[in-house]
Amino acid sequence: MTNSNNSTSELMSKLIDGEISELELHRLLRAADESDEVRSHWSELNLQQSALTEPVDANLGLGLADRVRAEIGDEVVVSDAPTVVQKLHARWLKPAGQFAVAAAVAALVVVISPLTQTQSDEALIPGFQSVDEPLYSLNAELALPQLPTRQVSTQVSGAPLTLSSTDASSGQRIIQPNGVMLQSPEEQQRIQLLMSEYLRLHVERAGPNTASSVRTYLQAAPE
């Protein structure tokens, strides 16, 4: 028997007597895992001890233990270590949660978008039921004069919005057939100036904190 085997045998003797340390037990377990000779020796030492006190079946080698090892295979102990179900749960819970959130958002978009889109589209098509011009023309029936402006009410992001489609030449906002809202040049220039001023104020306040905000200003600032 080599010195290594002798050392392992001594560890077995210590384990039998419950005098083994954690480190020594770790060494013994590793040795047993790597060598059937060690396992067989461990079995024999315990057979020797058991046979002195009670009936034993001495006609056993490693076969039964090998069969048990094969059957438990990859099974996980239901203990401190997570179970198979717990492992699967842990493995899939986070992605599933993320997927659920994403799905909920997507569902909201799918549900809300057509509604919003429908309202917008309806506002653009002839005969849309507007505030002032219902399909059933009460004005005509009552012979009341028509109003010059056709106002359409809808909702954008939950906030009520009333649009007017009166006349582009008057400088007021108009609604194009594709739904894009255009402004007059004066209005566009005023909005651009407001935006530039907003960016300048933003960069002045954020500038001392980060260098990136300066870059943002440089990139965003008009020529």
Partner: protein
């Protein structure tokens, strides 16, 4: 409980704690440690050796799956013994046969059942008796200092401290002597074990 039994319980608890953390190597050592006793107990219920080995396998697999339920209040072998008896009885029910003995599985620690475990199959008893005689003979052949240490440990059930006090030597020396005695005895009984495994009555080697 003797010091020897207490030490064995502590050793089992060390292994069980590792098993609970998922260490299959530790469970393998428990299987190898108790397989001789478990098969002997099951053979009392199940006479067919192949079937007894299948039941023993099932017993250990059940123990593995239920290891979290073992709290260490009793000895590990007592708990394992209960599973073995229960599994054997279930096997008999599955085979639509009446158990050879009417055993209450919930009362497996009763004196009657422990007595039952002491009366194994005639063949096992014979083998055990012969093996025990061979071990005692091997101990008798040991040098005096080794023989004394192993006798006090295995037959009298004394602790290392008690043996050291009795023999007037350090605990480390006791530990070394017991280790060397076990190795020597193991070498002595190997021919006998080989003979058991090679006899025609050995219906199946596993």
């Amino acid at each position: 409980m003797s010091e020897s039994q207490l030490a064995s319980k502590n050793a089992d608890l060390l292994l069980v704690e590792r098993v609970k953390k998922g260490d299959k190597r530790a469970f393998d050592l428990l299987v190898l440690k108790y397989q001789h006793r478990v098969v002997a107990v099951i053979s009392r219920f199940v006479s067919d050796r192949d079937a007894a080995l299948d039941v023993a396998q099932d017993t250990f697999v059940r123990a593995w799956r239920a290891i979290d339920k073992f709290r260490g209040d009793s000895a590990f072998y007592t708990w394992l013994y209960r599973i073995a008896a229960n599994t054997a009885k279930n096997w008999l029910v599955a085979q639509s046969r009446r158990p050879t003995m009417d055993v209450d599985i919930d009362d497996t620690e009763s004196p009657e059942l422990m007595e039952l475990s002491d009366a194994s199959t005639p063949e096992a008893v014979t083998n055990t008796d012969q093996l025990a005689a061979a071990i005692v003979a091997a101990i008798d052949d040991l040098p005096a200092e080794l023989g004394s240490a192993i006798r006090l440990r295995e037959l009298e059930g004394l602790s290392y401290d008690e043996i050291a006090e009795s023999l007037g030597c350090p605990v480390g020396t006791v530990r070394s002597r017991i280790f060397r005695a076990r190795e020597a005895v193991n070498e002595s009984i190997k021919p006998y074990l080989s003979e058991i495994k090679s006899t025609p009555s050995s219906r199946r080697h596993v």
